[in-house]
Amino acid sequence: MATLQLTDIGKSFGDQVVVDGVSLAVSDAEIVALLGPSGCGKTTVLRIVAGLEPEYEGSVALDGDDLRGVPPNERDFGLMFQDLALFPHMDVAGNVGFGLRMLGVPGPERAERVARLLELVGLPGKERRNVFDLSGGERQRVALARALAPEPALLMLDEPLAALDRNLRDALALEIRDVLKVVGVSGLYVTHDQEEALTIADRVAVMNAGRIEQVARPATLLREPASEFVARFLGYQNLVPLDNNDFIKLLAGLPGGSAPPASLVLVPEDAISPTPEGKLVARITTIQPRGRRLDVWALLEGFDLHLDLPAAVHADLQEGVELRLTIDQDLLHLIPHSPAIEP
């Protein structure tokens, strides 16, 4: 099967460095998500791997063979585009069967494999449908089937769900993961949506400003973000400077090791629970409803602590009122401070 190895990939457009020293491996049948804000260079990495950006630094290797100079049509990769790029002049079967036709697979076998693929993505019998007549979700499935048809060694997906609404996106993310696992193909999944990345991927690489900040399994990533950027990108808001002595002395179970003075302590929202028996007393400064959750900020020893609470349970909270809290000290995590980073 297939292992993709990116080593020290770099790419500039003019004097703007878009990708800077990216190294990443995708092992056999593994799904790796490339997560980052728009403009961080993740799509460029994908295009380099696909062979659509022939000029770059570093190396892209598949099972140890360097792919430099190999045109996209001779690489063994599939790519699902952000805007899908379904061929408007072909029907569903024409689109899905395109790659097989390029391989010279004869008609009857092609029809059979197209039918199997359409069944796999939940569109059985829709061969003759015009791609314009399909719904947004159906088009995604056609694009997925088309990318999988030539049985690529690696499937790349570039924000394939970005154009869909929330509910459909959640359902399709799971479906894509299932299909990829059934087929057993390696996947490189680019997205700016952390939920999507954490849902779909075996490992997540967080990218910022052209560099990879951290590669880890979803659980590890959530538990031990390696930088302030990663923590903030995952939605954590309580990053307490280590020199805030009044607050820090409340935390008994700081992770061991000698931390540099500029470090931050991550107090995950999930570690904070308001209970009547809590020994910590904070004063609520702001309450902001957000659907079924409440964003609550409460001042604790000079630090405006963020709490993420279920709205139905805490409907009686009011600004200016005191709140008793406990903090699960086992979930605290020490992060080296990196300046000049926007969340």
Binding site: A2, P71, R75, F77, D83, A85, F87, H89, R146, A153
Partner: protein
């Protein structure tokens, strides 16, 4: 994944080979080389002849031309004719554009198609149509004779200034109508609504909102009409008297009859500078009018409600039919009328082998030549135009400058081009004066801008991800072209090809100057027939012109069937 082994071997192999040069750049390089040799070089040669004596500067030809009352008169007349033609065309085209942009009515699509017919009609056909309409024995005079009971021609317009202007209106009316109505219909109606809501009345809205918005499109169309009228040749040569010679006609006379190449060069240079200037103005205007307007919501056409609106719609339809169809119908009518009777004798004479009039060349030879040149022109102009359109579509920055430069053959008159060929391509290794190739090249230069115009908007609309998707799915460069590009652009390609065919079929100025007797085309044969004595000569010329009209008309129907609905650009 069973094929991964083979895929990797082929990957490894091609990794050692240098990447193939992109075909697009190769083709564009070829097109540029072609244009440099056959377009730029002849123009430079004209410049050299008119500005230099050998290699030393010599402005003698220019001072000779500019100091001469006659030549100054020709320059002034060219401007005057173009100006009057433009004003008349815009005056007729604007109300029509308003009706087409604002009202829906039965037969609208057909009427719009009919209004475009003149654009593919050869100048020679148009000229003969006007002779058949307004000549001493034309339809109008027949009617007047019958009405007034007189024997003489009451209204002989042939040779007058007015009939040339009318022919220019016939030719260019559709440009104003299509460009302005397309633009007008795409204006956001909320702008006018906003003006009303802000307290502006009907006339204030027209003055402060509608007119400033539509003005750039009107100006662009007017400039195009001006350029075409300024460089008009066949119509002026045939319909005008000696006093009506434009610069274009004068260049032809100096070259083909008086053989004063220095003066011809100076005149051609003056004309080229003027048309280049107007062309640049045109492309800039087009840019501005395209960039400034928000095209979100389209003007909704409505059925004409008031009596006034109904009258406008009916009048518009009558005007279009009268302007466009009357010269063409008159042509066929005259061709079918021999000695006061209806008969197909003129057509039969053409092919009977005893054609009295077309002595210089057998009619079937002219027809064969025309079709052969048109076919060869398609073969040359389509690849040329395609290569250029691809480059233009891929060009991100300054594409309008490149666009203007590559459209220049549209602005340079055919006679000037032919003249440039005569003086530039006259010695080895490029002595093509005796070759039929010269005609094909000239026709292709005049025709390829139409291929580019036809392709460009479609090419710019292709999502580049489609090509990347095909590449990732295993299609090489050529395969991507045949599998993705071709199915999407083939209609535009055929439209461009038919335009090229029609342009070559009707090309008159350059052919008249360049064609050897054995390469005479239909338009040239028709023109020569006009110089022959006797009524039979005229009727056979009319019959030949009718045939030419039919072929052009058939091509036109093909274009209209294939053209993407709603595309209105030129």
């Amino acid at each position: 994944m069973d094929r991964r082994g083979t895929a990797l071997t082929s990957a490894g192999r091609s990794a050692r080979w240098p990447r193939l040069l992109p075909y697009g750049w190769l083709a564009f390089g070829g097109a540029l080389t072609f244009l440099a040799i056959f377009f730029a070089y002849p123009l430079v040669e004209i410049l050299r002849r008119s500005l230099f004596d050998g290699w030393s500067p010599d402005l003698g030809a220019f001072s000779e031309v500019l100091g001469d009352d006659y030549f100054r008169g020709r320059i002034f007349f060219s401007f005057w004719l173009a100006l009057v033609s433009t004003v008349a065309t815009v005056a007729l085209g604007l109300p029509s554009a308003y009706v087409f942009a604002h009202y829906s009515f039965p037969g609208k699509t057909l009427l719009r198609s009919v209004s475009t017919v003149p654009f593919v009609m050869p100048a020679i056909v148009v000229a003969f149509g006007f002779i058949a309409l307004f000549g001493p024995d034309g339809l109008v005079n027949d009617g007047l004779r019958w009405l007034l009971g007189r024997d003489d021609a009451a209204l002989d317009m042939i040779g007058t200034f007015e009939v040339i202007v009318l022919a220019h209106v016939f030719y260019n009316y559709t440009i104003v109508m299509r460009v302005v109505s397309g633009f007008w219909a795409s204006l956001d109606p909320r702008l006018a609504e906003a003006s009303h809501v802000l307290g502006a009345g009907r006339w204030q809205t027209l003055r402060h909102v509608t007119v400033p918005l539509v003005a750039p499109a009107v100006a662009a169309a007017a400039l195009l009409v001006f350029i075409f009228s300024f460089t008009s040749f066949g119509v002026v040569l045939i319909l005008g008297s000696r006093d009506h010679a434009t610069l274009e006609v004068e260049i032809y006379r100096q070259t083909a009859q008086i053989f004063d190449l220095r003066v011809a060069g100076a005149l051609a240079m003056i004309q080229v500078v003027v048309t280049f200037g107007f062309m640049l103005l045109y492309t800039r205007l087009q840019e501005r009018s395209a960039a400034r307007i928000d095209f979100r919501q389209q003007l909704r056409e409505r059925a004409p409600g008031s009596v006034l609106a109904r009258c406008a719609v009916v009048l518009n339809a009558l005007a279009v039919l009268l302007v466009v169809l009357s010269p063409l119908l008159a042509l066929v009518h005259s061709a079918l009328r021999v000695d006061g009777h209806y008969s197909t004798a003129a057509f039969e004479n053409l092919f009977s082998g005893e054609s009295a009039t077309l002595r210089l060349v057998a009619p079937e030879t002219a027809i064969r030549n025309s079709l052969a040149f048109a076919g060869l022109t398609v073969l040359l102009a389509v690849p040329l135009g395609t290569a250029i359109a691809y480059r233009l579509a891929a060009q991100a920055r300054y594409s309008f400058v490149l666009d203007a430069v590559l459209m220049l053959p549209l602005a340079v008159s055919a006679v000037t081009l032919g003249f440039g060929f005569l003086i530039a391509l006259d010695e080895p290794p490029l002595d093509l004066r005796a070759s039929w190739l010269l005609l094909v090249i000239a026709h292709s230069l005049i025709a390829y801008p139409f291929v580019v115009r036809s392709l460009l908007s479609v090419l710019r609309g292709i999502n580049p991800r489609l090509r990347e998707a095909a590449a990732v799915l295993g299609a090489g460069r050529l395969r991507t072209f045949t599998e993705v590009d071709l199915p999407i652009i083939w209609r535009a390609l055929v439209v461009g090809a038919v335009f090229a065919f029609a342009v070559s079929l009707g090309e008159f100025g350059a052919t008249l100057l360049l064609a050897r007797p054995e390469y005479t085309t239909m338009p040239v044969a028709i023109f020569r027939a006009l110089g022959q004595p006797g009524p039979r000569a005229l009727s056979e010329a009319l019959a030949m012109a009718s045939l030419l009209m039919l072929v052009a008309g058939a091509g036109f129907i093909l274009i209209e069937r294939l053209r993407y609905r709603g595309s209105s650009g030129f």
